[in-house]
């Protein structure tokens, strides 16, 4: 497991691993990077198949549930799941844990594939900000991102069922922009600031390298 340390900000190679239970009973801020992020970095930097298999075990059933929520049948949902997971493998180089949780990154790929499949359309995407592959990941920044994401998760679970349902519909792509209210009750301000810091650092690092 990865430990955030004040002395070093390098990421150690993760040990061989299989599926692990989510750690839910965290009472104080965790000092470990989540297994999902660890697996994803092992896939990105080490092309680690065991880590990919672990990611598959974690995300593929959730992806299938997510895709079937919009009324897609089981067989077609599995085709999309496979396509999404293969994209995770191929595009792993674009994953940046200081700007996104694994679930957020995979969410984006999944929505993109759903649009490709059902609208026969290609959603325009912003320019990629290139990640400098040689830069060592900053474990404290990764941890800070993960803490923001778990705060977000907690905030969602505290909402009234009706409000939570509305947010789920919005991110499942079932609401139009006119129907999406900015008053969703989901506090995105702090995670936005955290990502903004990561983006500024990236821009700074890229400038230094030029």
């Amino acid at each position: 497991m990865l430990i955030a340390s004040t002395h070093t900000n390098t990421i150690e190679r993760p040990p061989a691993m299989g599926p692990q239970k989510d750690r839910l009973q965290v009472t104080q801020p965790s000092t470990e990077v989540s297994p999902q992020t660890t697996w994803m970095l092992a896939v990105r930097d080490g092309r680690d198949r065991a880590a990919f298999a672990a990611l598959f075990d974690h995300f593929a059933p959730r992806l299938k549930g997510f895709i079937m929520r919009s009324g897609t049948g089981s067989a077609q949902a599995e085709e999309i799941v496979q396509d999404v997971m293969l994209t995770v493998w191929r595009k792993a180089g674009q994953f940046d844990p200081t700007r996104a949780q694994v679930s957020a990154w995979i969410y984006q790929i999944a929505r993109h594939k759903q649009i490709d499949t059902f609208r026969k359309d290609h959603r325009p995407m912003p320019e990629e900000l290139s990640r400098e592959p040689d830069l060592e990941p900053d474990a404290s920044q990764i941890l800070a991102m993960e803490q923001e994401a778990s705060r977000l998760k907690k905030a969602l679970s505290m909402l009234k069922p009706k409000q939570r349902e509305m947010i789920e519909q919005a991110y499942l792509g079932e609401l139009s922009h006119q129907e999406i209210s900015t008053q969703t009750g989901l506090p995105l301000g702090t995670i936005k600031s955290r990502i903004r810091l990561g983006l500024e650092k990236l821009r700074h690092d890229l400038k230094e390298l030029r």
Binding site: F52, F66, M68, R69, S74, R99, S181
Partner: protein
């Protein structure tokens, strides 16, 4: 580069992240995010929220062979889709819509030119070229219009808009955008309804030019 003062509204960013924004608007928002660090951060934050929903929505049982089938495909060769980089004032997503070629401008008179990128039931999106100090005929529209400045500037009753600024105009607005005095103004504009011009002659020309 000067600071961006007019950003993509949050509801549009959420809809874009969720993939529910009509294609013409999605292109303008993708271009704006390519130019604006604030809106990129907000877009990433909406993806984080989407990730939480993905985590929570409940797992479904997989067919037995899906995992082994997928693992077997990891090394299968794939045809890479071409990626489009920024070229001049046009960010990557606009270059993609242009298929990597320079815009093909058509004159609208008075030095104003347009290049239609897409027009269908969902609405239309086009590039506009407006000479310095030139006004674009007064028009109102049935739905929402998003305009992003790529070069130069323009101003109208909604304010002054420079490079990277996004104007959001709804059906209430009847505006006469006028280009600033510096470089010619180049912008990308998307609507979900045909524009209606309020002066007679442009209205007669409207079917002809599809504006």
């Amino acid at each position: 580069m000067t600071a961006i003062n007019h950003h993509t509204p949050d509801a549009l960013l959420a809809a874009y992240a969720a993939g529910s924004l009509p294609q013409p608007f999605a292109l303008v928002v993708a271009a704006h995010i390519s130019m604006c660090l604030d809106c990129r951060a907000a877009f990433d934050a909406h993806q984080a929220a989407g990730g939480v929903v993905l985590d929570n929505v409940g797992a479904a049982v997989l067919t037995g062979s899906l995992k082994s089938d997928t693992l077997a495909l990891l090394d299968a060769p794939v045809k890479e889709k071409p990626s489009f980089a920024r070229s001049g004032v046009y960010p990557g997503p606009i270059m993609e819509a242009l298929k990597g070629k320079p815009p093909r401008w058509k004159s609208l008179g008075m030095g104003v030119r347009q290049s239609i990128l897409q027009a269908n039931d969902e609405g239309s999106v086009r590039l506009l070229y407006i000479p310095p100090n030139q006004a674009v005929p007064d028009h109102s529209h049935g739905g929402l219009e998003l305009t992003l400045v790529l070069q130069g500037s323009f101003s109208d009753s909604g304010g002054s808009f420079g490079v990277g600024d996004l104007e959001v105009a709804d059906q209430e607005v009847e505006h006469t955008p006028t280009a600033g005095s510096g470089a010619p103004c180049i912008c990308i504009a998307a609507t979900d309804a045909p524009l209606r011009f309020s002066t007679l002659i442009p209205r007669l020309l409207q079917p002809l030019f599809r504006i």
